[in-house]
């Protein structure tokens, strides 16, 4: 079902968390609300499921205005960060709870509950209590409970935050599989860009109660609208250096480095201070613009090495390269940048 937030605002007392936010989630789509903590992404989620009352604007499910409808009648499935399983009920009772509350016939409750348990692969655990389950199993139960009533939308609030690294990888693909299998519209709230990029069709990146950019993960990575977006996506993260437009070139501040203007950027007038963003994979042995610096840090990651390159002016660039032995700490090197992959931002963070 299509979800539309129309000029949605939410404030707690005098604190305005979100103002005039408009966001559309298409039917069957999985959208990530990505942002740092305190940016209002969870608030948005709680407003959609009706736990928070909105201060202004409308929330539409399909064509139906849900703004004033209590959460009990919105038919949303929520997976909470802590899973919020009912500790006094067994797995089976937890999953069946939304159906029993709706007073469905017991045979029907049992059938749907078992069907959902099969979908999330917890058939063998139905008689256990939540305390007797591992984190990943609890996650699956929470997912089953959220999906069992066939909700209009599935809301996931940092669902992987409480899992260890290996389980996180596993559940990431599991959640995506289940979402695709059921074809449900889903919203994932996360602060982890890897989760957002790997699981979702589109990402809405938020900061301070505003959506900065909505795009597919690939588009957003390749073409970030602001320095914030560029900085948020990518691991290891992008590095920024201060520069100045000078004669169609970019002169790095306090250093004898000149970079060509990226082809897709609008050339700013001479003397304009700008910020140049260079992703680690675009700095290395290949490229067209040389950069000199000293290797100040080497981190071995197995297949690749991550280097910190300190420039003459003290700024630090990152480079990720295939593992090799020919450079070591404190070496002076001259590496190259692929100038077509540079991002150019204005002083206020806007992409040029």
């Amino acid at each position: 079902m299509r979800i539309l937030l129309d000029k949605f605002s939410k404030s707690f007392g005098d604190v305005r968390v979100i103002e005039d936010m408009t966001l559309e989630i298409k039917d069957g789509e999985m959208l990530a609300l990505l942002g740092p903590s305190g940016c209002g992404k969870s608030t948005t989620l709680f407003a959609i499921c009706g736990i928070h009352k909105v201060t202004g604007g409308r929330i539409l499910f399909g064509d139906r205005d849900m703004t004033g409808v209590p959460s009990q009648e919105r038919n949303v499935g929520v997976v909470f960060q802590s899973y919020a399983l009912y500790p006094h009920m067994t797995v089976a009772e937890n999953i069946a709870f939304p159906l029993r509350i709706r007073k469905l016939p017991e045979a029907e409750v049992k059938r749907q509950m078992e069907e959902m348990a099969n979908l999330v692969h917890i058939e063998a655990l139905l008689d256990r209590r939540p305390a007797e389950l591992s984190g990943g199993q609890q996650q699956r139960v929470a997912l089953a409970r959220a999906l069992v009533r066939r909700p209009n939308v599935l809301l996931l609030d940092e669902p992987l935050a409480n899992l260890d690294a290996k389980l996180r990888l596993e559940m990431r693909s599991e959640i995506r599989r289940i979402q695709l299998e059921t074809g449900i519209t889903a919203i994932l709230v996360t602060h982890d860009q890897v989760e957002a990029m790997s699981m979702c069709d589109r990402i809405a990146i938020m900061n301070a109660g505003e959506i900065i950019q909505i795009a597919t993960p690939q588009e957003m990575y390749r073409n970030p609208r602001t320095a914030f977006v560029a900085g948020f996506l990518g691991n290891p993260p992008i590095a920024f250096i201060e520069a100045e437009a000078r004669g169609g070139m970019l002169a790095v501040k306090d250093a004898d480095i000149r970079l060509p203007m990226p082809a897709n950027a609008t050339t700013p007038p001479d003397g304009t201070p700008v910020i140049v963003g260079i992703r680690p994979e675009n700095l290395g042995r290949d490229g067209d613009a040389p950069i000199r610096g000293r290797i100040s840090f080497v981190e071995t990651q197995g297949r690749e090495n991550l280097y910190d390159l300190t420039l003459a002016n003290g700024s630090v660039l990152r480079s990720i390269q295939r593992e090799s032995d020919d450079v070591s700490l404190n070496d002076e090197v001259e590496w190259r940048v692929r100038s077509d992959q540079l991002f150019l931002f204005a002083q206020n963070g806007e992409r040029l």
């Binding site: 709680f46 499935g77 802590s82 006094h88 709870f97």
Partner: protein
């Protein structure tokens, strides 16, 4: 590095030298055992003084027949028509009682010596000794006839004096110890058997004795059943209606209203507990008196003023349960409210989006989480209500006509304060002991129920 280590070593040396003697004398304070005993001492003293000693004394008194009549020190042996009746009725010794009760005259050396003291004519004394020594007369007339027949022929006045001296009746005699009584009785009836002596001593003793009669009396008294039913009725109703029921309503409603009004609400419901019992009950009395608020208010509608609290047994119960319930509800409220607060907020959110409205949340989320608090409050309040006395004493004092007399109040009335004035310490102690036994048994069951030993098990973290 080395230098600083040396300095540290040097610096610590004098410290150590000073610490050693202190360690020797107070070293035991550093062990958890030694310090534990020191810290526990005041608590142990209080437990012994205010719990163990009263319980032990109660148990001791329960096996006596102490009362105002017997006193709590020793007693004497008093022969009275009453004790003779006891001898007849309880021991079936009608003959003995008749013999002891009759005036009896025995001519013995003791009497003769007394006559000499009084300055009676030695001739008369000699005549009595020669002719009648050792004889016994059961009637005054017969004895006096014999005296008159003596060779000296004493005057009538002297005859009376003489006969009085030989009167050996036990009726209304008082003896300081058992030996004196037995000697006197044997003087009347030398063939007194051991059983008869025993019975006589028992029947005439005015002090307290060891006995198990209190429990027999308690078991057979119809009042026991009545008071017991009153107590069960009082505890059950107050507990279910107020201490858990109403407390739960308060806790749940304050959970769903905003923080500040909820706090004010809770404080108001705490007032009965923190106000002094006398003032609190006095307010209730003002409410219920025939010149009180209820009467004054209903007067406007033509209802005759009357004492609403003591007007009928039903009214009295209503007031007793309200008065105790409003005090008791606050504890349950606090415990339930904090237990509800401990439920993660996300569970309520989850229940809301799962479609559960508030009353369904109460039923499916809150109540299952309150299982243990409810059990705890029930157990704790059962014990506290079983021994509750102050509010009932101050409000109805068991009235009207003993209809609100509960066990603890009955103990108080029997042993410490009653209208008849005969305070039966022993009987009251026996009643109290029953209460103590019930309380201890219930406590043990509860501790078992709550798995107390698991609660106080040593932590597995190293200490």
């Amino acid at each position: 590095m080395n230098a600083s280590r040396d300095i540290a070593r040097d610096g610590s040396a004098p410290l150590k030298a000073r610490a050693v003697p202190a360690r020797r004398s107070f070293g035991w304070l550093n062990s958890s055992k030694g310090l534990g005993i020191v810290l526990l001492t005041p608590a142990l003293m209080l437990v012994v003084l205010f719990f163990l000693a009263p319980v032990v004394l109660t148990a001791v008194f329960a096996f006596t027949n102490m009362s105002t009549a017997t006193g709590i020190t020793g007693g004497a042996y008093q022969v009275s028509p009453g004790t003779l009746r006891v001898l007849t009725d309880r021991y079936g010794m009608r003959e003995l009682a008749a013999r002891l009760g009759q005036p009896t005259y025995i001519v013995d050396e003791e009497g003769l010596a007394a006559l000499e003291e009084m300055g009676i004519d030695p001739g008369i004394i000699a005549g009595l000794r020669d002719e009648h020594l050792g004889e016994t007369y059961s009637s005054r007339r017969e004895f006096e006839r014999e005296i008159r027949d003596l060779p000296d022929r004493p005057s009538t006045r002297t005859v009376k004096q003489i006969s009085a001296e030989f009167s050996r009746s036990l009726a209304n005699a008082r003896f300081g110890n058992a030996g004196a009584l037995v000697a006197a009785a044997e003087a009347i009836d030398p063939d007194l058997g051991d059983a008869e002596k025993e019975a006589l001593l028992d029947a005439t003793y005015t002090g307290w004795t060891w006995t198990t009669d209190n429990f027999r009396r308690l078991a057979s008294s119809p009042q026991t059943t009545r008071v017991l039913l009153n107590t069960v009725f009082f505890v059950a109703l107050t507990l279910t209606l107020f201490n858990t029921g109403f407390a739960m309503v308060l806790a749940i409603t304050t959970h769903y209203i905003p923080e500040r009004p909820a706090g004010i609400f809770r404080i108001i419901w705490f007032l009965p507990r923190i106000s002094p019992a006398v003032i609190y009950v006095l307010l209730w009395k003002w409410l219920a008196w025939d010149t009180g608020f209820i009467s004054a208010f209903l007067d406007n509608f033509g209802v005759r003023p009357r004492n609403w609290m003591l007007g009928s047994a039903t009214n009295a119960w209503v007031f007793v349960i309200l008065i105790n319930g409003f005090v008791g509800a606050s504890m349950g409220m606090v415990i339930f409210a904090s237990a509800i607060k401990a439920i993660p907020q996300s569970l309520f959110h989850a229940a809301s989006v799962d479609g559960a409205y508030r009353w369904q949340q109460v039923r499916h989320i809150i109540l299952p989480h309150l299982k243990w608090p409810i059990l705890f409050v029930t157990c704790y309040q059962t014990l506290s209500l079983l021994t509750a006395i102050d509010h009932i004493l101050l409000s109805t004092d068991g009235g009207p006509g003993g209809s609100t007399e509960v066990w603890s109040l009955w103990v108080y009335h029997t042993a410490l304060n009653n209208y008849a004035g005969n305070l039966q310490y022993g009987y009251g102690a026996a009643m109290a002991l029953v209460l103590v036994v019930i309380g201890v048994v219930l406590s043990l069951i509860y501790l078992r129920l709550f798995n107390y030993s698991a609660l106080i098990v040593k932590p597995r973290i190293e200490h």
